[in-house]
């Protein structure tokens, strides 16, 4: 496996350099969000995706621009991975007019219509129906688009997911359920909230379920690629459980994190950082370290410019408050 992947990387490192760039963009973006919060320049809270970058990027790399995704309260990573631009995302997080949702959605509701990101959702599990419906729609309209439903393992507690999976399976819809198991439902270990085996859940509805190392973007991409192919072929839904970890607290204000140990956090950061893992592999495959450094410089600049743009951007006009209630 490792050899095969090294060979793949060596043969053509470009897509993985692009993956690296996207993952790094997410990382810097999230660090910047944390900073905005700490310096009281951002209204409200945000749930950071740092640590989980390989999942969103690995999956979205397997998608086309016109494929659909639905996202969660921890949604910045999905949005960036699907191709959103940093500046308009920051603007949204600050409630500014050039934001993706004109500042009306905020962190928990970012949507990006141009790239068929149907939006983050602040109701845990709330998008299971929407993603499945997008898949239904693709099929009815005769396209070969697929839909990806991202959700945290906490959403396994929501009945809606099972209702949607049952119909997806019955109707062989082109939808991929991506469960991001970062071990915690807010402040509670998923082991205290989740009975049985995770992959048995989709299997109960006749949907193949597969466990994936969520810190390994190549592994995620490979599994997602198979699921996407299957969906496009018309063979129906798949379910991936990606094991991952959030490096920050549940949200930016969750700083003491009494529910988990500093050792556990350190272990993941030190040994399971998806960026370091990918960088290591790229170097191993012979990529010039200077390229990685250049990417990092570019990303840092992009994020810095993005946040400056957002900070200077105007708020929406007060009259906007009653616009867009109805289409």
């Amino acid at each position: 496996m490792t050899e095969e992947i090294t060979a793949q990387l060596r043969a053509n490192p470009e897509p993985w350099l692009e993956a690296y760039r996207r993952m790094l963009t997410i990382r810097h973006f999230e660090e910047q969000v944390d900073d905005l919060y700490r310096s009281a320049r951002m209204p409200g809270l945000a749930h950071l995706y740092a640590g989980e970058e390989a999942v969103a990027v690995g999956v979205c790399m397997a998608l086309r621009d016109d494929d659909y995704i639905t996202s969660t309260h921890r949604g910045h990573g999905h949005c960036l991975a699907k191709g959103a631009s940093v500046d308009r995302m920051f603007a949204e997080l600050l409630g500014k007019e050039p934001g993706y949702c004109r500042g009306k959605g905020g962190s928990m509701h970012i949507a990006d219509q141009e790239r068929n990101n149907l939006g983050a959702n602040a109701i845990v599990g709330g998008s299971a129906g929407i993603a499945t419906g997008a898949a239904f729609s693709a099929r009815r309209r005769g396209t070969d688009q697929v839909a990806v439903c991202f959700f945290g393992e906490g959403a396994l507690g929501q009945g809606l997911l099972y209702e949607a999976m049952n119909m997806a399976s019955l109707w062989r819809l082109p939808v991929i359920y991506v469960c991001e198991n970062n071990l915690y439902n807010e402040y509670t270990s998923y082991r205290e909230t989740t009975a049985g085996e995770l992959t048995a859940r989709p299997r109960a509805f006749g949907i193949p379920g597969q466990e994936v190392d969520g810190q390994d973007v190549l592994a995620v991409h490979a599994a997602a690629g198979q699921a996407v192919e299957r969906a496009r072929r018309g063979d129906g839904p798949s379910f991936l459980v990606c094991h991952t970890y959030r490096f920050y607290g549940h949200h930016v204000g969750d700083v003491d994190r009494a529910y988990r140990t500093r050792e556990e956090e350190r272990a993941w950061r030190d040994r399971r950082d998806p960026l370091r893992l990918l960088a290591g592999r790229l170097l191993e495959a012979g990529v010039d370290p200077a390229r990685l450094e250049r990417i990092e410089e570019e990303v840092v600049t992009e994020v810095r410019n993005g946040v400056d743009f957002a900070l200077q951007a105007p708020y929406p006009d007060p009259s906007e408050v009653s616009q867009h209630v109805y289409a």
Binding site: G126, A128, G129
Partner: protein, 326 residues
């Protein structure tokens, strides 16, 4: 003009829209082969096939969510929620998702979703199959709510709902599917937010919704015999609400009764009464009289159930009192 039933009018509306627009489809429990539990859509699947008239598992939240996802991506679903009481299961999908997606996305996403469901008691179906929960949906910005009371309105409002780019909930009175009425052969739609004066009058205004329009007209007939001329106004949609027509009638008659089959407390009658009072206060002889369902779970026993629902007699009595006739 032909006379057809309210059920037939609904089926016609759906058939016409399914024919006109390939993105329209119908989805719900037993809507296809069985043509719904009320047999209203019988025959639809034969013309449009099981890809467009779709039987689902008993998963109201799930298929409403699927409908929403379809609506956000280019289709126009008509979702069937068999009994209005089951709206309890889809409130998240309707209220937190469908109603808000356009606004939350800054106007970029749209959800042209129609939910057809029922209201109304007296079917001896007891507490979990008899509620009229349209006040809840009317409370939620982003949703529109239609309440047809005649075959003509049922057809025209449903067609408008399907063509609307917003989520619309259409409540049908389940006791009313056999009611007959005149419906033109040709195509027509009815704009939302336009009340209909079902009977003009001078002495008292009866604002009635859905199932209560029949009772109001019956009451108006009885009142006419006593020399009281009642105007019956049907708002037809609670959101948007045609405040103007309601207020105009109130100003004219100075006496208003509002009748709705939902629970009286914190219900539709409260809003209509408040809007009318705000707009016609100095013209009113007396406070607006509200008549809604009794504030009890709907009992099974017929002798009790019939007490809970407003009827013509109650309206007549209220009108007499308002007009100083007792």
């Amino acid at each position: 003009m032909r006379e057809i039933t309210l059920g037939q009018a609904i089926k016609e509306a759906l058939a016409e829209e399914l024919r006109r627009d390939p993105t329209v489809f119908v989805m719900g429990e037993d809507v296809a082969e069985a043509g719904t539990a009320f047999k209203v859509l019988k025959g639809l699947v034969e013309e449009f096939g099981p890809e467009r008239v779709i039987d689902t598992p008993i998963s109201e939240a799930g298929f409403t969510g699927i409908g929403l996802g379809a609506a956000m991506t280019g289709l126009r679903p008509v979702i069937d929620i068999m009994f209005g009481d089951f709206l309890t299961l889809v409130m998240d999908q309707l209220v937190n998702q469908a109603a808000k997606v356009h606004y939350m996305s800054g106007g970029k996403l749209k959800a042209p979703l129609v939910v057809r469901t029922t209201l109304g008691a007296t079917r001896r179906s007891a507490a979990q199959h008899s509620q009229s929960l349209h006040a809840w949906l009317s409370h939620v910005p982003g949703l529109k709510v239609a309440l047809p009371s005649t075959p003509y309105d049922a057809k025209g409002l449903l067609k408008t709902a399907i063509r609307d780019d917003n989520p619309v909930v259409v409540f049908e009175d389940k006791m009313n599917y056999q009611q007959r009425g005149l419906v033109p052969e040709g195509e027509y739609t009815i704009p939302f937010g336009v009340a209909d004066v079902k009977r003009p009058g001078e002495d008292v205004t009866i604002v009635a919704t859905s199932s209560m329009v029949v009772a109001a007209l019956e009451a108006a007939e009885l009142l006419a015999r006593e020399g009281i001329s009642a105007e019956v106004v049907d708002p037809r949609t609670t959101v948007p609400l045609d405040e103007e027509t309601l207020i105009r009638s109130a100003v004219k008659t100075s006496r208003v009764i509002v009748v709705d089959e939902g629970y009286e407390r914190y219900g539709v009658t409260a809003e209509l009464a408040s809007v009318i009072t705000a707009g016609a206060f100095y013209h009113l002889d007396a406070p607006v009289r509200r008549i809604g369902a009794m504030h009890v779970p709907i009992p099974f026993s017929p002798v009790l159930e019939d007490l809970t629902v407003p009827n013509a007699a109650a309206i007549v009595e209220a009108a007499r009192e308002l007009c100083g006739r007792r």
